[in-house]
Symmetry: C2
């Protein structure tokens, strides 16, 4: 160990980071192969804290459970509140508690799946820790990554957090029932999303009122 | 470099992380000494993306500028939108663009101060990158750390992100004008904050309507 006040920091950090990401990519690839072999469609959700991932997921799980076998993994630093909320959808749910780790990794997903028979599942959702930065670097073996942003966060989030929008496949604008109250400019939000990720599919919805959920469920069903 | 699929990852990560944090702590201590020597009161702001840090800061800077010499540094991964917004308060503002780094570090603050004479300042605000996890580990040399959470994020955020609440001195509940619309339970939010950080001072306010700003400004003025 180098104990001088200014150790040459960046080269070592980059090397370790490369190793961590490489290892995660290898594990994610294995997971993806397992999911495909078992014909499980896997979607992950990323967003800021409080953007409405759990409410959106609860509505989605409730709508899907009559048609297919669905389950969810949900990540948080602390508490199993989200697993308890999602259990109301009456599908299998497991909480991943990360402690101080600011994102999910493929290894955590693999461990959380322990004991579940993937052949008995059609669809799995993975809710990441609330964080618009760090989860972008970690492949979880998912088929589709959803990035959620709520109207209360403002229209500029895609410009300020471009990497996470770039690594996602679908954008969901949530809490659309509050759009007028916060003077949300939908046109500008859509323009910002497209400038970061041209051609990205965007849904506007409210898990509270149900507005827009049908269109999202139609896309999901076309992929199942 | 170890190219096996499973390099022994944790020990090296912990070692590098320790070095990074140690170096940051040393730099933050130097910064704190500089701020004290120049009698500059420094407050930093952390929150989720879109919790309203910039709106709150703009109102605070505008209220303060008649009474004292105030300035701000503002961090984001990309864009200088926030510096442009804060410039409307007509005080010196500098943007720190972190690229892919999910938090500010003492070194970034030090670099951003280059060319500013601290003896000509009474108060400095540092707005961190929107992230409720990673900024908690990085001391920036500030005297007071504010953690903001908006009513639209839900009451459970202190329980889910305990470390950031634990490292902060004051909690600000923002967008209080939307509390009824999102059925925010203030009592439960306050209870959650106190369970994570007993005795923490909590303000409820709206930068939009101005509600609650006076009480916050009174605390700030008592510290200047």
């Amino acid at each position: 160990m180098n104990n001088t006040p200014h150790p040459p920091r960046l080269p070592r950090l980059i090397e370790v980071r490369k190793n961590v990401l490489k290892r995660n990519d290898l594990l994610a690839r294995k997971l993806r192969d397992r999911f495909r072999a078992a014909s499980v469609f896997v979607a992950s959700l990323v967003s800021s804290p409080g953007a409405g991932k759990t409410a959106f997921l609860e509505k989605t799980l409730t709508a899907l459970r009559a048609q297919c076998r669905v389950a969810a993994l949900v990540g948080d630093l602390a508490t199993d509140n989200d697993a308890a909320r999602l259990a109301r959808a009456e599908v299998p749910v497991r909480q991943i508690t990360t402690g101080t780790v600011c994102h999910l990794e493929a290894e955590m997903v693999e461990r959380a799946l322990d004991g579940w028979n993937l052949d008995e599942l059609d669809c799995l959702f993975i809710e990441n820790v609330g964080n618009l930065v760090c989860p972008s670097s970690y492949d979880l073996g998912e088929e589709m990554r959803l990035v959620l942003m709520s109207v209360t966060e403002g229209e500029d989030k895609p410009l300020k957090y471009p990497t996470i929008f770039n690594t996602a496949d679908v954008a969901i604008i949530t809490k659309i029932d509050l759009a007028a109250a916060v003077e949300f400019d939908l046109k500008s939000a859509r323009r910002n999303i497209q400038s970061v990720r041209p051609g990205m599919r965007v849904f506007e919805l409210s898990a509270k009122t149900g507005e827009g959920m049908d269109e999202w469920l139609r896309l999901l069903q076309s992929r199942l």
